[in-house]
């Protein structure tokens, strides 16, 4: 499903959280997929910053100072762009 409000060109430059690099900060640009409601309730909302802390079957990230573990399939539904250092 194509997330709303993100132009196609920009969408191409986004990466999913599951493929993002560990130890880097990202901005959540879109949350899209069957688990998006649950992800948003948990705190993965558009425009918030997220830092990926660990990779694996379930990856660990920090959103608004809270560490969350989410499955790779769910992280696939979170599209992020890097935050300039």
């Amino acid at each position: 499903m194509k997330p709303a409000r993100i132009p196609d060109l920009e969408l191409d430059s986004l990466t999913s959280l599951s493929k993002a690099r560990v130890g880097c900060d990202f901005q959540i640009r879109a949350v899209s997929g069957p688990g998006c409601d649950q992800l948003r309730k948990l705190g993965f909302c558009e425009s918030l910053q997220v830092r990926k802390l660990a990779h694996g079957r379930n990856l660990i990230c920090s959103v608004c100072g809270t560490r969350l573990a989410v499955s790779r399939q769910l992280a696939e539904q979170v599209l992020v762009s890097p935050v300039a250092a």
């Binding site: 409601d37 705190g43 425009s47 379930n58 608004c64 969350l68 573990a69 989410v70 399939q73």
Partner: protein, 623 residues
């Protein structure tokens, strides 16, 4: 105006400190921990405001929003809307939020505002938020939300008076606002959070981040996990020996007092061989049970439990469960009842049913006295505490692995979920243990154990003593006297049934008595195997074990050889001998059929496993 006190409800995300706040407000003893999902049902208390007004307080299970679909979140939604029969709709809501993560918590507060009920926001953990570099402005938050906001530290009792003062009644209802959809609520929450809790832009590494690098490492994390489990069992064997010695000495002293004060006869025998020895044989394990609860409390309180769930998720997935099922299963090591109730946090109904079904195979603390009696018998009493701890770890592992195996089979049969479920878990910051709460929880569990020893176990050992004393025969031969008694007759009747499992009639009788509660087995064995003891000397725990171990079959072969002890151990690993657990399973699964099916299946499985172990073990030992 009605007579009832006004009802205040505590609402917030899981693991935000609601139960800690509940305890701080009411002086209550609600269980607290540091992982999401400790509270799965509502609990009530009351307190007075500084103006002397009495308010009822209800602590509700954590929820991320008011439309959550897991059973614990359903409890919260129904309670807020006044749909629970024994609970009126709350007159006032305290929204508990974590100050360090306002962006995540405010959407729920906004949902609560939309209900139009009087609301107060408890801004908890302000110390941790400020330590993480957040600049909190509670006044601005209050201005934006239009309701009182009270900064506090529920764990340290700070801000509690201010919170009570803010609960002036009647509270004005907040102005009715409707953000129309979740996106609008989220946008408002983010805008307010940006004003009221300014965050330092750079992410700085916290102690929890550093600890997690080790504790959640794919290799190191597992080594630490196994080491923690080993230390837990090792300490149960080693540290508890001192207080056990005190209880033993007290028991001996009591027997001495009774024997000194009373003439020989049935009443004295009832007191010494029946009550003191039977109940004492169980009570002596109190220090070890307290130690188990202490360690589990410590793991919960520090935040390690959620890490254990994270580590276990990959393994759990192979048996058709998820890391979410690990927390209820781990709780079941202490007691299956809270474990079964904790399955309410599992979103998938099928996974929840399977977890409820296998939870009693996580060896609970009631099995501990049985294991502690049998393991030294298995090792001949010669092995060190380290070896005993390893065997104990193996006993726990056997129950756990079998549970996983059955879960895999059952999950396959139930089919996939209608809506695919994924693993999501908050990993709370590590924190220093809340010693006060751990101690209180341990003491509560100890009191519950002693209550059981003073009621169920006492009742059964008295009945058993009577059954193995009466009716009396004219013979002076203890063996003939025993065969004349009720126990002798029951033993003779059941011996052909239990003999293939390696048990004689008395052991079989002790097993039957323990269907009321597992711990009874130890007391029953102490009573049932004391009949041919002629001296009145007080015996130590080891001597009771030695006496049981020295029993022989009529042909002179040892009764409790390795296959027989293994068979008993296996029986107790698998048998579901706890009526309260069966009742809770029926309630949580919503079906007595499921609970009775579980009881019958586990009893038959235990008997079959015992039979196989004894028969194969005897073949190997004989070859």
């Amino acid at each position: 105006m009605t007579d009832r006190s006004e009802l205040v409800a505590l609402v917030g995300h899981p693991n935000v400190g609601k139960s800690t706040l509940f305890n701080a407000l009411t002086g209550g003893r609600a269980k607290v921990g540091n992982y999401p999902g400790i509270t799965v049902d509502f609990q009530q208390g009351s307190f007075r405001t500084p103006h002397g007004r009495r308010l009822e307080l209800v602590d509700l299970p954590g929820c991320l929003s008011l439309d959550g679909d897991s059973p614990d979140q359903e409890v919260t939604r129904r309670a807020i809307h006044g749909e629970i029969e024994q609970l009126p709709a709350p007159d006032l809501v305290i929204a508990v939020v974590d100050a360090s993560s306002l962006e995540r918590h405010l959407p729920l507060v906004i949902e609560l505002l939309e209900l139009g009920k009087p609301l107060v926001v408890a801004l908890n953990r302000v110390d941790l938020a400020e330590r993480d570099g957040l600049r909190l402005e509670p006044d601005k938050l209050s201005e934006e939300l239009g309701v009182p906001v009270v900064p506090l530290r529920a764990d340290a009792g700070k801000g509690i008076v201010e919170l009570k003062q803010s609960l002036r009644t009647p509270l004005p209802a907040p102005s009715q606002r409707d953000w129309s959809d979740t996106a609008a609520r989220r946008d408002t929450a983010h805008r307010i959070a940006a004003v009221a809790a300014r965050r330092a832009t750079a992410h700085h590494e916290t102690t929890s981040d550093r600890l997690d690098r080790v504790l959640l490492h794919p290799v190191l994390g597992w080594l630490v996990f196994l080491a923690i489990m080993f230390v837990l069992f090792w300490s149960i064997f080693s540290f508890a020996s001192v207080p056990m010695g005190w209880i033993e000495a007290g028991q001996e002293w009591l027997v001495g007092v009774v024997e000194g004060a009373m003439a020989e006869g049935d009443l004295r025998d009832l007191l010494t061989s029946g009550i003191i020895e039977g109940v004492g044989a169980v009570v002596i394990f109190l220090p070890q049970i307290l130690m188990l609860f202490f360690f589990i409390g410590l793991l919960e309180s520090t935040g390690y439990m959620a890490r254990a769930a994270y580590l276990m998720d990959g393994f759990m997935a192979r048996v058709g469960l998820s890391g979410k099922a690990f927390l209820p299963l781990l709780s079941s090591y202490a007691c299956a009842i809270p474990g079964v109730m904790a399955t309410r946090t599992i979103p998938s109904a099928k996974e929840r049913l399977v977890t409820i079904f296998v939870a009693p195979w996580m060896s609970c603390s009631a099995r501990l006295p049985v294991y502690l009696l049998l393991i030294p018998m298995l090792l001949g009493g010669r092995e060190s505490t380290a070896v005993q701890s390893l065997v104990m770890l193996g006993v726990y592992a056997l129950g756990t692995l079998t549970a996983f195996f059955v879960a895999r089979l059952l999950r396959g049969r139930l089919g996939p979920d209608e809506v695919e479920q994924h693993f999501m878990l908050e990993l709370p910051s590590y924190q220093a243990p809340q010693w006060g709460y751990i101690l209180r929880h341990v003491l509560d569990r100890g009191a519950a154990f002693l209550r059981k020893a003073g009621t169920v176990i006492l009742g059964i050992v008295i009945l058993l003593w009577a059954a193995q004393t009466y009716p009396k025969s004219d013979s002076d031969d203890p063996a003939e006297q025993l065969s004349h008694t009720v126990v002798g007759r029951v033993s003779d009747a059941i011996e052909p049934v239990v003999r293939p499992l390696g048990f004689d009639g008395r052991t079989g009788t002790a097993v039957i008595t323990s269907f009321a509660a597992r711990e009874v087995f130890v007391g029953s064995m102490a009573v049932l195997f004391s009949v041919d003891e002629s001296d009145d000397e007080a015996e130590t725990r080891d001597r009771i074990r030695e006496r049981i171990a020295a029993e022989t079959w009529p042909d002179g072969s040892p009764m409790f050889d390795i296959p027989a002890v293994l068979s008993l151990l296996v029986f107790y690993i698998y048998a579901l001998q706890c009526l309260p657990t069966t009742a809770v399973v029926a309630r949580e699964a919503g079906s007595w059929k499921w609970a009775i099916g579980q009881f019958v299946f586990m009893s038959l499985f235990a008997a079959l496993a015992s039979l196989v172990v004894y028969q194969v073990g005897s073949l190997i030992a004989g070859s």
